[in-house]
Symmetry: C2
Subunit: 491 residues, 2 copies
Amino acid sequence: MLLKIDRGAKTPVHRQIETETRRLIDQGALRPGEALPPSRELARRLGVNRSTVYQAYADLQAQGYLLSRPGSYNIVQARRKEAAYDPGRRGLFNWARRTTPGARAAHEANLVLAAGAASRRLHEGKFVDFASLEVDPRLYPLAEFRSVVRRVLADSGPDALRYGELKGYLPLRAGIARRLRLHGISASEDEILMTSGSQEGLDLVIRLLCPPGSRVAVEVPTYARFLPLLALNGVEPVPVPMTPAGMDLDALERVLAGSPIRFVYSIPNFHNPTGITTPHAHRERLLSICQATEIPLLEDGFEEDMKYFGKVPLPLKSIDERGVVIYLGTFSKALFSGLRIGWITADRDCIDRLAAVKRFSDLGLSPLVQMAVERFCRLGFYDLHLKRIHRVYRRRLVLTLEEMDRRMPKGITWTRPVGGYTLWVKLPRKMGAAALREHLFDHGVAATPGAEFFPGGRPSEYLRLCIARPNEDEIRTGIRRLGQALASLPA
Amino acid sequence: MLLKIDRGAKTPVHRQIETETRRLIDQGALRPGEALPPSRELARRLGVNRSTVYQAYADLQAQGYLLSRPGSYNIVQARRKEAAYDPGRRGLFNWARRTTPGARAAHEANLVLAAGAASRRLHEGKFVDFASLEVDPRLYPLAEFRSVVRRVLADSGPDALRYGELKGYLPLRAGIARRLRLHGISASEDEILMTSGSQEGLDLVIRLLCPPGSRVAVEVPTYARFLPLLALNGVEPVPVPMTPAGMDLDALERVLAGSPIRFVYSIPNFHNPTGITTPHAHRERLLSICQATEIPLLEDGFEEDMKYFGKVPLPLKSIDERGVVIYLGTFSKALFSGLRIGWITADRDCIDRLAAVKRFSDLGLSPLVQMAVERFCRLGFYDLHLKRIHRVYRRRLVLTLEEMDRRMPKGITWTRPVGGYTLWVKLPRKMGAAALREHLFDHGVAATPGAEFFPGGRPSEYLRLCIARPNEDEIRTGIRRLGQALASLPA
């Protein structure tokens, strides 16, 4: 057995002996059944300590290269080679047919999103972005957040990096309870569960309430990422049309009188995608319907903090004295999208059960970011930030509506939201998502085809315009381009 | 209408008018149908600007206190009061009967854990902790991590706080791919999905592969949080007994020859809870069985980095040339438990499908913490930290085994792990979890009753001893106390 050992190398000698021996075995120079020299002898030959050889042999034994029977550990064993990286390996195992129908639906939906994202990357830098629904990063209070994280790290010791409380960091829950009071919602800390963004909140509620094959009443159009999430969980959406004043409640009553519905999903403020905010009377009636039928109501308050014109009715949760409403909130739409910090508030028993689902699905959130957000709010930075972005988005929305009035060709109509980020634009005719998206890119503007917000993603005559990202100059340019694009829709 | 307005107060006057009017309506002093004074008149009476009254009326209208018909906005409306906080409200709505069987199972399991945690809090500060499976926080490289987070925040701009890539932060995935090569695993960045700890990895794999009512082959005993996670997903564990050399492979072959199994779950290194590390030959045979039956193998490498004595066989994934193995890793067991950063590596197609499940279940991880971990590893801090804790845990494990030899009463046996944190102690007779836990607390020591690691949680004759938390002094004290406790087990 010829081993090349380099004493000057950084690799320890025992590792060199091990690697070289493996190479000889893998290449067939040493064959199964052959004996290696006893460790004492090899040590003498190589001029190394016997324990060095001993460790190399022990490692080879652990890896199955040498027989592991005591006293005879120096017999070469037949063993599999390590699998090399081989992209051609892909597809040897058929995963598609092993996955659940829900996972397949999620995969299909993800491929559609990936195609959209790929097209977007292709046009990067060449369009005004009315598609993204995240606060303009140019408005991020970065310096304040940095200082807060620094202080949390300095003050917190190891606790910021250990498992936290299951429901979330208690002072943050207390702070959220205080903020919820501003929106008329009374909740204790124990009635709040912190989640990984409100998307996880949606998932937890579905996993709590909906066995596969069950049904959920959904405004149509609705939040685009909710529909594949239902499909992932094997749950069927039962559509309830949106009217200019919100979910059609007569239609809802008919739906609820039909086959069992596990919960009703609604976005009463700045509805995604239509931008509609329902009046108080609509909220009272929706709540009464859910209370009378004893069907839980999932209220998505994803933009509760974006009431920059005032004059917005309070959440349904604020008048929910029977505890039928599960309310979702998030910091993703007014602060940073990538924090992944949202929350659910509902009756204590409901929250306890949601927390149990979260316990086993991911053991709970990291405390570090929660601590930072808590301090950020406590020091008043969040309120200051809201004040600042409210001023900005008030101007952006007013400007957008003015520019729409000026620039849209005849036959195009749109909603006039009272806050939030989205307008719902009605085109003269239906178009498929990809064709509409590409047509807009060709005119230097990005927006979200309405098809994404309807079950099945069929061609739609709508377009979602989102004013989160572009500044005033970009809005002027973008709406002008949009006007040109919509004046020349392909037949 | 008598309104008390305080011009010196911090609350804006329009808010005061609004609040006072609401109070009068809620108290019945103003009744539905009554007219409020026109805004001009009230402004004059109160000596305030008319726009102030106008804003108050508009807000009251939005909240449903005033009729919202244009021109007649000053008629009081019947509306629900805001729901006050009322803990007695709890239970008005019966959540238990609305939840899925899986969610109920998770809730039951969580109640058991909560009872254990409550008992633990009661004895806080009075026991040596052989229960926790997280790195001793006294060994945390806090200064290094703080400096890394600071630098990430300083360098990264808004990107650390925006939505990141779906599969996770690319440089971190590249870094993990490099680390995996140390363990013999070849994977590209695209074959890695970052997860919220390995717990979410387990959940994603179950959601990908297991429709409700399906079955999974599981080592018994096994990781305690895996069983309720299966129950949450409506999946049944099919037990395969552990032998001193790992999962009983003859039993596994019989199980796989029976009704369909969606995947096999195994922890080959430092098995939780038994501490057993399987030999290479066992791994080859387990892999061959899964390849022959075409059943995916989920390999949980939760303590791959805790090979502090060397001499541990490489992961099954390292010899998986057909791509049947899904491998889970995590930073929770060698670095910080609360980071919630784990990963899955598998064939590209499998990873793409898992990423789709993650897309819709929580939109992906926060980039901030991933960026910090990536830099922590890149600057060599992780390797330094491993070197340091390896030295510490080598000593702790040697000491623990010595002390066990000295202190355990006759009739007690235990496993002798070659790394990791856990020993599996066999008692002379079976005991229920609560009784055993309390008996140990009474003797000033905490450990995890074996019952937690078996489906159904029935009384067991085992105890898991975990050496992650106590230092050498505490180990000496703790093992002495454990000896006393086990010498006096209640009949």
